[in-house]
Symmetry: C2
Subunit: 189 residues, 2 copies
DNA sequence: CCCATCGGCTAATGACTATTAGCCGATGAC
DNA sequence: GTCATCGGCTAATAGTCATTAGCCGATGGG
């Protein structure tokens, strides 16, 4: 791996473990075997490392969501696939997803506005999936907004505690969470 | 309200909005109308403000959980009440719950160990509730651990987006989330 | 062989921050 | 009336940190 990639990886791990504010350039340098100031031969600013993580994470999530639901008409199948994509991303890219939700506050403008817009768009996509099931009469929920938040929040949780070497395989996790999502909206599979 | 209480309240609001690390003693002082150094006439250290929030939050959650489930034998009713208590706390004490989950990393020892122990205990209580339903044959879940994490994570999410002046009343929220929890474990009410 | 570029390094720089020191006006007990 | 205490204040103190400056060895194209 080239040094720049190594740096981004180290920053991601440190931001996850200690948080953006508590991670120093010295920490990141030490993680790749150089001194803090030397990082500036590869990166313009600490903030850029965070921006790259946040933006690509949200874009990847949206891309994964669209790939999962396009061409699928059945609301049950749409929600199943959307949840699969959501949970799989949060399990497979645990660190990115963790930093993506935890460090929004540390994002400076104009990046904050951009990431927030992507987030809002992602939530709207999910809400639309739930709405389609309600419209079709197959989902039973009082509030579409509440139900979609609930499903989204399940994914966030995964990014907090999931470990690839834990007792759950990624597939088992994704399967169970998809079932949780369907049950949540009142589909009794 | 006495000044000390006012300070704790201001710190809570600032820790939620900006994060512990990004909140300065000057910020907290400004929020109560005095200068940063003057805070030390009321508080020994910035860290103490965080510790107080985290410890009382976890203790209150545990207390609420125990009050909700003691004397209730039926697993369905136990889970309903546990979820009600969980979600109601996260809605009513949104800031405390938010800081309680977000700022664990900023907690210094020995408080970190103590809070982590309380957290583990709380999770174990919830897992026991789910386990009782599985043992009784009324809950259908592959993994008790996964299902209880899912229900717990729903509460965390509430602390992120719930607003007392939003479109959902606290009671409506609690009611819907309790139903979500029961559906999650396979109870078709 | 030469020298420009790359990517390290150490030593500033310039902020910012928690906390402490030391001062002082108000207040209330006696 | 005096004086101790309370709770402000400003001015240190003693860091820490992101970033910049300036230096230098290695490397590789010409």
């Amino acid at each position: 791996m080239d040094r720049s990639g190594h740096i981004r990886e180290a920053a991601l791990e440190l931001f996850t473990r200690k948080g953006f504010e508590s991670t120093t350039m010295g920490d990141i340098g030490a993680a790749v075997g150089i001194r803090g100031p030397s990082l500036y031969k590869h990166v313009a600013a600490k903030q850029d490392l965070l921006v790259a993580i946040m933006v690509t994470t949200m874009e990847d999530l949206l891309t994964a969501h669209r790939a999962a639901v396009t061409g699928v008409a059945d609301p049950v199948e749409r929600l199943r696939r959307a949840t699969e994509a959501h949970v799989r991303y949060h399990a497979r890219h645990r660190l990115e997803a963790f930093v993506g939700t935890r460090e929004i506050r540390s994002l400076a403008e104009p990046h904050l506005t951009r990431v927030l817009a992507l987030r809002t768009e992602y939530e709207a996509c999910f809400r639309a999936v739930v709405q389609s099931g309600v419209d079709a009469g197959v989902f039973q929920v009082d509030s579409v907004r509440l139900a979609s938040y609930a499903v989204l929040d399940l994914g966030m949780g995964v990014a907090v505690w999931y470990r690839a070497d834990g007792e759950q395989s990624e597939d088992a996790l994704v399967w169970q969470y998809s079932r949780f999502a369907l049950r949540l909206v009142g589909v009794t599979a």
